[in-house]
């Protein structure tokens, strides 16, 4: 019988082994992976000593153990991170995330299928090309040695299968999430924080593929091996990169809020100095899908306040001229991120995009500022970094008002 909360308890076999089987279960989480590496390496060195293997064999064995260790470490990150994902408030998006969780830890253990296939093909190839084993094991074909090498090969294959499965499922969830995010209700969405976690998972998957790089010294002399490794890492990189880019384009705010931030022409920035004197002025602003940006004069009180206290608030509202009560507003509370020259260099493409957004949103303003430049005091001129400073908001809390009621967003 299925119990509720089954999803919470589903784990990969590998995780279960490390959590339940001594001696791994006896050490704290995080150390059990290290203990595993340590034990494997000890066994490896002992075996090498007993069979009088050359140092090259120890080196190749160690490479495999190192890769297994990094993979284990990554797998130990992926599992809990995926299980911690909070359900999006949009119904279809919640289904996508649920499905992602379920299939990643599917009881059908599809990652094993991949692992077995990979193990089978590598074994078959090694059987046909016995010189390769001979080379790695320095010509020693003792059955004990072959069995131990086989176990190590299985360890490697299992991680390769796991990595492939994780990357494929991430790819699928990103494509689906992006597709259904276009159908979300006005106030339904997947929080930005969760999207960031999904992107982090893609990076972990990408690293999973990158770890195969350590095998290249072993495979360089063999085109088939080399090709196989290349296809594997290129495949994982491809799926993870597409997944990342797709998720980066899913908006982490409700649709209605995005309209407000895109169509709203004026925002109000509230700051407060160290003596707790509030200060509030209108600004023009742009929203790039994740962050609100506005520009302040270098000599403004706002900027001085933000240097003293970076906790700021920003509000945008829309008014219905026929009904003053039918207004909607969004309030962001968070920290000001002031872009200095160094930040500008580091975030250059992003700043170019912000500049484009400003030009597109306020063409009249840009025109007026250009043609009537001589009327402007120096501090108002729009030369960025000389007299104007770009500020972004790292949002901590959002309040949304709609017709007198307010909705608090996480």
């Amino acid at each position: 019988m299925m119990s509720t909360g089954m999803i919470e308890h589903k784990k990969w076999v590998y995780e279960i082994i490390l959590e339940r089987v001594p001696p791994f279960s006896l050490v704290p989480r995080g150390y059990n992976v290290a203990l595993q590496l340590f034990l494997m390496e000890i066994v490896g060195i002992l075996v090498a000593a007993v069979f009088a293997l050359p140092s090259s064999s120890i080196f190749y064995g160690s490479i495999a153990i190192l890769a297994v260790w990094i993979w284990s470490f990554l797998a130990f990150h992926i599992g809990p991170t995926v299980r911690r994902l909070k359900p999006p408030s949009a119904h279809l998006e919640r289904e996508v995330i649920d499905k992602y969780k379920k299939s990643l830890f599917s009881p059908r253990r599809i990652e094993y299928g991949f692992a077995v296939l990979i193990f089978f093909f590598i074994s078959l190839y090694l059987f046909l090309r016995q010189d390769l084993i001979a080379y790695w094991l320095a010509g020693n074909f003792s059955p004990v040695l072959l069995v131990l090498a086989g176990i190590l090969l299985w360890d490697v294959s299992y991680r390769l299968g796991l990595g492939l499965w994780s990357a494929l499922m991430a790819f699928k969830r990103s494509i689906n999430l992006s597709r259904v995010s276009g159908m979300r209700g006005k106030m339904r969405y997947t929080p930005y924080e969760e999207l960031r976690t999904l992107k982090r998972l893609d990076i972990i998957n990408l690293s999973f593929g990158a770890v195969t790089l350590v095998f290249y010294p072993m495979a360089i002399s063999d085109p088939v091996f080399f090709g196989g490794l290349l296809i594997y890492s290129a495949g994982i990189s491809f799926f993870s990169a597409i997944s990342y880019i797709t998720i980066a384009r899913v908006p982490g705010y409700p649709q209605e809020l995005i309209w407000l931030l895109t169509d709203g022409k004026f925002g109000y920035v509230g700051t407060s100095d160290k003596d707790m004197t509030p200060h509030l002025t209108p600004v023009i602003f742009v929203f790039d899908g994740h962050t609100v940006f506005f520009v302040v004069s270098k000599i403004s009180k706002k900027l001085r306040n933000m240097h003293e206290n970076d906790e700021i608030a920003f509000i945008v509202d829309m008014r219905d001229p026929n009904n003053l009560y039918n207004n909607r507003a969004v309030l962001f509370m968070g920290r000001a991120k002031i872009f200095g020259l160094l930040d500008a260099v580091l975030n250059f493409p992003r700043l170019l995009r912000v500049r484009r957004l400003f030009n597109a949103k306020y063409p009249e303003y840009v025109h007026q500022y250009k043609t009537r430049r001589e009327l402007l005091p120096r501090a108002w001129r729009t030369t960025l970094f000389v007299s104007r400073i770009l500020v972004g908001i790292d949002v901590e809390r959002i309040v949304y008002w709609r017709e007198a009621g307010s909705i608090r967003l996480p």
Binding site: T281, N323, N327
Partner: protein, 164 residues
């Protein structure tokens, strides 16, 4: 108490606008803003807002009475035509609507009447919103201005009030 004469641009703007943005801070100096209805009292240069007793701004005023209120007229085509006034001052929580509707405080009664006159057109037009108006407006807040900054385009005028 003599009341300082405000420049006509400032008093004009405060009289003709229906919306103000009201800015407070909590005990950790985190800023909060809300759009609000307000009333400017020409005779005393004070600004009044109506709020709900359990609202964030009322809680904030209790810990830090320093507030800021901004009113502006925007021109989406020409930034040189934007004008506005920022009022910085101290807020005090006066009375709940129930209390001053029966009180003999003539000044507060006048303020309350002023609110009804300013927003009455809307009240009559929409009976549903009238209910909301009652629901969300039960505390009267008085803002004593210390400083007003007026701008039109890039030009600023600062007025300091209540100086001894």
């Amino acid at each position: 108490m003599s009341v300082e004469e405000l420049p006509p641009e400032i008093s004009g703007l405060l009289k003709e606008s229906h919306f103000a943005y009201f800015c407070t801070t909590d005990q950790e100096n985190r800023v909060h803003i809300t759009p609000m209805f307000f009333l400017f009292d020409e005779e005393t240069n004070e600004i009044f807002v109506l709020s709900h007793s359990s609202s964030k701004k009322i809680k904030n005023i209790k810990t830090n009475p320093k507030v800021c209120l901004t009113v502006d007229m925007r021109d989406p085509e020409n930034p040189f035509e934007n004008r506005g006034v920022m009022v910085q001052g101290t807020a005090s929580i006066e009375k709940t609507v129930d209390q001053f509707s029966v009180s003999q405080d003539r000044k507060l009664m006048r303020v309350y009447k002023g609110f009804h006159e300013k927003y009455s057109v809307l009240n009559e037009a929409q009976s549903i919103t009238q209910v909301k108006y009652q629901e969300f407006t039960e505390v009267l807040v008085r803002v004593k201005a210390k400083r007003m900054v007026f701008w039109k385009g890039p030009n600023f005028v600062t007025v300091n009030l209540n100086r001894k």
